[in-house]
């Protein structure tokens, strides 16, 4: 294998000299370190490879000392590494030295894994040396992944529970088209069996019946989209149509009518979102608003969108009593609910989703005759065209 920086005076393969006493002591200290430590020379040849590194990469030091450090990197890093070290030595421009960052390592069995690497530099009588301290990020990544999984599970559960709560009302909604469908068909059946001439109207009635069947299917489809468990996604979308669908879904599960004033902002930039998750926020906010306003004489909510520096804001304002000052500090915490049947998850999950999208969910608490106003803020999608959209 050729070294990365061919230099005429570099020995092709340095003969490892036996360590001196102080070197031996240093090595034994390095071997007790929990972090991996690799020291390389100007030619990226490994001088020191401690015990932690042996475990991390699955190779004994004896096999790697004297070889190019590329050995423990996946191929694409190895290529760049040549360029980095070369350019640093030529120009002194630091890409990683003294900074530390996340890179990838390659185990002897071929596994590529994430590493946190910080690099220091030392001038020695034998020339410049680079000291790399490495930490295996897999345990941390695993717990991050577990957390993300759990969060996803919770988000899904909350959606299911929202549907469950709306379930009775949705059953009612399904009953309507089913009733109409049944009656249309029975009307035709009766006329037919009694020999009544229905030729002129039957087409019309069948069309209406089909329309009702379609309506039932549509209700189920919207519910299913909302409840099914999926991996989080990102799509570049216009926010307003998503909001309108979510409002429809919420109203499906609503027994009492409420006035909804809907205003759409003009020229809103698209957002990069998981559509179902964003709809979940809208459902939560609108349900809360409807519940909050249900006690007043003329319940009404305003749902507005507008552009706001570099993003889009959705505001859901109701004319209920607003949020009690004592409830405000814990409002977005899980299990903070003032409702008999509430789980107190709606806002906690909504804010988590908003923040996972690089946005936020904030509240203007209102009170003294003014209702609460929740604002969902989402950053505009980056200008790059997105083919998954």
């Amino acid at each position: 294998m050729r070294d990365f920086a061919p230099s005429p005076d570099a020995p092709a393969s340095p003969a490892p000299h036996p360590p001196t006493v102080s070197e031996a002591r240093l090595l034994s200290v390095l071997d007790t370190a929990a972090d991996g430590i690799i020291v390389i020379d100007e030619h990226a040849r490994i001088l020191i490879f401690n015990k932690a590194c042996e475990r991390m990469f699955g190779v004994p030091a004896a096999e790697v000392v004297g070889k190019n450090v590329k050995l423990v990197m996946p191929t694409e890093y190895a290529r760049e590494h040549d360029a980095y070290v070369g350019s640093y030595i030529r120009t002194g421009v630091k890409k990683i030295i003294g900074i530390g960052r996340e890179v990838q390592g390659r185990h002897a069995d071929g596994t590529v894994f994430p590493l946190e690497l910080s690099v220091g530099e030392a001038a020695t009588p034998d020339g410049r040396q680079f000291i790399g301290i490495l930490r295996d990020l897999r345990p941390r990544k695993e717990s991050e992944q577990r957390l993300a999984d759990l969060q996803g599970e919770l988000v899904h559960l909350a959606r299911v529970s929202a549907i469950d709560e709306m379930g009775a009302a949705i059953a009612h909604e399904l009953n309507q088209p089913l009733t109409a469908l049944m009656l249309y068909l029975q009307a035709i059946r009766r006329a037919h069996s009694r020999g009544v001439d229905i030729v002129t109207v039957v087409g019309d009635i069948l069309d209406k019946a089909a329309g009702e069947a379609e309506r039932a299917g549509h209700i189920i489809q919207r519910m299913r989209q909302f409840v099914e468990k999926r991996d989080p996604e990102r799509h570049v979308r216009a926010l307003d149509p998503l909001i309108d669908e979510a409002i429809d879904l919420t109203l499906l599960g609503q027994r009492h009518r409420i006035r909804i004033d809907r205003q759409q902002g003009e020229n809103l930039p698209p957002v990069s979102v998981d559509p179902v998750q964003v709809q979940q926020i809208v459902v939560n906010l609108v349900r809360n608003a409807i519940e909050a306003a249900s006690g007043v004489a003329d319940p009404a909510i305003q749902i507005r969108t507008r552009a706001d520096d570099g993003g889009v804001v959705l505001e859901v304002q109701d004319n209920g009593p607003g949020i009690a000052p004592e409830a405000l500090p814990k409002l977005f915490e899980a299990f903070a609910s003032s409702k008999r049947r509430g789980m107190g998850l709606g806002l906690a999950i909504s804010r988590t989703i908003a923040q996972n999208h690089g946005g936020d969910l904030v509240v203007e608490p209102g009170g003294k005759g003014r209702g609460a106003c929740f604002s969902l803020i989402l950053p505009a999608a980056a200008a790059v065209p997105d083919e998954v959209g």
Partner: protein, 122 residues
């Protein structure tokens, strides 16, 4: 018989009118309680079919009002809601009939007998 139908769902209202005419009734449809109040009073020999979930004035209010008339018509409640909701809404009111959605023609003729020549459905 003259049947007044108070139902806000256009599909249900239309199909119900169709089947009621089909079995020999005269049908007058209203989308809400308010429009029934504006129309001539239902007669004692009429029937009124009331959907329990109405926009504005509730179905239960309308039922109470109808049953309290000097000469009350027959009052048939239709609803797709849960038993709990029905009990809560009707508290103490006893309509002539209660039919839960989804409806079919047999359930309707059981409370409002057919008046066409054929009598009951084929």
């Amino acid at each position: 018989m003259r049947v007044h139908v108070v139902e806000d769902d256009a599909g249900v209202s239309d199909s119900l009118a169709l089947i009621l005419r089909n079995i020999g009734h005269t049908v007058i449809s209203y989308p809400d309680a308010e429009s029934l109040f504006r129309a001539p009073l239902p007669q004692a020999r009429d029937a009124v079919i009331v959907d329990l979930s109405l926009p504005g004035i509730s179905g239960a209010h309308l039922v109470r009002w109808l049953l309290n008339l000097a000469a009350p018509p027959r009052v048939v409640v239709i609803t797709g809601q849960s038993q709990g909701f029905i009990d809560h809404q009707l508290r103490g009111l006893v309509p002539t009939g209660l039919v839960r959605k989804p409806l079919d023609v047999d359930a309707i003729t059981r409370v409002l007998p057919a008046e066409d020549a054929a009598g009951s459905p084929a």
